[in-house]
């Protein structure tokens, strides 16, 4: 008997990653897809050889026996879809960022708790073997105390609704802050207590949202960190972007480049060369863990609070940029 999962909306391109990861796992099944854009949902259902349901009620109908939902709608709709899953008594894996406001995230966390369903946030970087190895190194105190971190999560502008603040809750900073903040929180076991940010719209001048953001953060134990969260990679860049970290410790340093494994690839008919990535697909580990929690009731390894804390740094960064001064966290 396999674990029966569903996907709510293919608005976020990560839905394809998760559908592919489900296909990689023997004991997990994609039972159905719902999408508020029926055409997109039907196409996805056909692509992944599953059924499309035009309404949430039909998706969660008792005969489908759906145990878990993966929410990959536009950021602002995460709340709507997570609450619908909670109402149906279905565990949820929610795409990052958890939401676009602290209040909405709290409602999502509380509603899931009251409904007795689990809420997990999709931070697949935690499942990278490189990140796991880094955790070991830091836990083993091989680097001593981590005192400074320089990090990047730069990328190409994904376009579409990601550029619509009404749907995304911001631009690049809400999109690209949370992965690395979650990694830093996980590595250090500490919260960000202060954030300063320079944020602007520069790469695509008529964009209705930000596309450049450099954050400086203070962790509660004294570590300092910068994060370049900009959509600063050109459209013809050889890969979508990067996740990198340089960690400076009292006993040593480490540099991480999570997506550097690649083969340089040239095609005669392309205007650039491309990085052909290879190596581990962290999404498989993410989905496997979610499915395991759904099946066994084991606590999800990445909680709604983890999602809230990461999002709060992004929201703090926006406030810092608006006010022109550092902002203390948690937000008040």
């Amino acid at each position: 008997m396999s674990t029966r999962l569903s996907i709510m909306s293919f608005a976020h391109l990560h839905a394809d990653f998760y559908a592919t990861a489900i296909g990689e796992l023997d004991d997990v099944e994609l039972v159905g897809v719902w999408d508020d854009n029926p055409r997109r949902g039907e196409e996805a259902a056909a692509k992944y050889d599953t059924r499309f349901f035009p309404t949430v009620e039909e998706l969660f109908a008792p005969e489908n026996e759906i145990q878990g939902a993966i929410v990959t709608s536009e950021n602002v709709h995460h709340k709507r879809d997570v609450l619908a899953a909670a109402e149906a008594g279905v565990d949820v894996l929610c795409e990052k960022p958890i939401s676009v406001s602290v209040a909405d995230a709290r409602v999502m966390i509380d509603t899931c708790e009251d409904a007795g369903v689990q809420l997990m946030i999709a931070f697949p970087c935690r499942y990278s073997p490189t990140f796991r190895r880094l955790e070991e190194i830091i836990e083993g105190e091989e680097l001593g105390e981590i005192v400074a971190i320089k990090s990047t999560n730069r990328g190409q502008n994904p376009g579409g609704w990601f550029n619509d603040p009404e749907l995304a809750g911001g631009g690049t900073v809400i999109d690209h802050t949370v992965h690395v903040v979650d990694m830093i929180r996980t590595l250090l076991g500490e919260e960000v207590v202060k954030v300063y940010a320079e944020i602007d719209t520069v790469f695509k001048p008529d964009l209705p949202c930000d596309d450049a953001g450099v954050l400086t953060m203070n962790l509660e134990g004294g570590c300092v960190a910068t994060l370049d969260a900009s959509w600063s990679r050109p459209d013809n860049y050889p890969i979508w972007g990067d996740v990198t970290m340089t960690l400076i410790g009292t006993g040593g340093n480490a540099t991480v480049d999570l997506f550097v494994e690649h083969i340089d690839t040239w095609h005669e008919d392309a205007d650039t060369y491309l990085w052909e990535p290879y190596g581990h697909d962290a999404n498989v580990g993410l989905i496997a863990d979610f499915a395991d929690s759904v099946e066994t009731g084991a606590p999800v390894p990445i909680t709604g609070t983890d999602g809230l804390k990461a999002m709060e740094v992004a929201l703090g960064a926006y406030r810092s940029s608006e006010n022109g001064e550092p902002v203390g966290l948690p937000l008040t």
Partner: protein, 327 residues
Amino acid sequence: MLSVAICGAGGLGTRHAENFEQIPDTEVALVHDVVESAAIELAEATGARVARAEEEIFDDDIDIVVIATPTPDHAYYAIKAADAGKHVFCEKPLSRTLEQAREVLDAVETAGVTFMVGHVVRFFPQYARAHDLIVSGEIGEVGVAFTSRINTMPTGRGNWFQDYALSGGVTLDMTIHDFDWLLWTFGPAERVYSVGAPEKMPLLDYGLTTIRFERGAIAYAEGSWADVGTFRTSFDIAGSNGLLRHDSTQVSTLTVQRREGEEAHAGVQVPESPAERSPYLIEDEHFVRCVLTGEEPPVSGEEAFDSLALALAAVESNEAGGKLVEL
């Protein structure tokens, strides 16, 4: 022939002495160092004489004074040299404080001598080319610029670099190279925010500085004296119409491996990119040309002042544990 006095016979003093010996219009006549053995060693290598007293630097037969002492002494020597009518080449940073820097620039202006500060990064071909590409609009409006400069903690005489009251730490002593390049390329800075961790690593230093430029660009600069590898630099400059990226570890034209020791695999690997003329030589040639022609040096005193002001603002922000400093 212009006679050069080298003031400070450490690593950079030695490098400049070699350059001025090589440049046809100059010769090294005098070496001064508070540590006489260092002065003697460099004097013997260049065929110059050792100053018996500091005052000899300012004698009539000297045309150019090269200042390569620890940072806090720059202003003292520069002002005395300018007052004595010498042309002055001063290593970066211009001085330890802005007050000193202003006194130096006043002395230089009054004396009417040529004055240049060793912001040598402008003469590194990759930085010069990147500057030209950006200024010519090749990548459109720059949004986010990243620079990185990474080294082990420099030793220096008496470990003076490790005394931040003297050196200003990595941010004032080394990241100032990138600050200068950024100001040269993007124009005036508006505000700066810098963090680091010096108190937790007393023998190491690391700084992360974010700068907002008046014309809009956001820059962040990494400076490390906490590394165990070889010196390296990189930049990543993203604009509305393209991206420039350079990593010194990726562009070595020559790598030599030397077998050492008993083990078959033991040895060292040293990458390099040999150049016909080093950036330091190009820098010194520019200076000499300006001395001869009276042209304004490619790094003006005011530009060096602005680079110092930015670096000191970063240090101030850093020491306050992250504070926004307006420029």
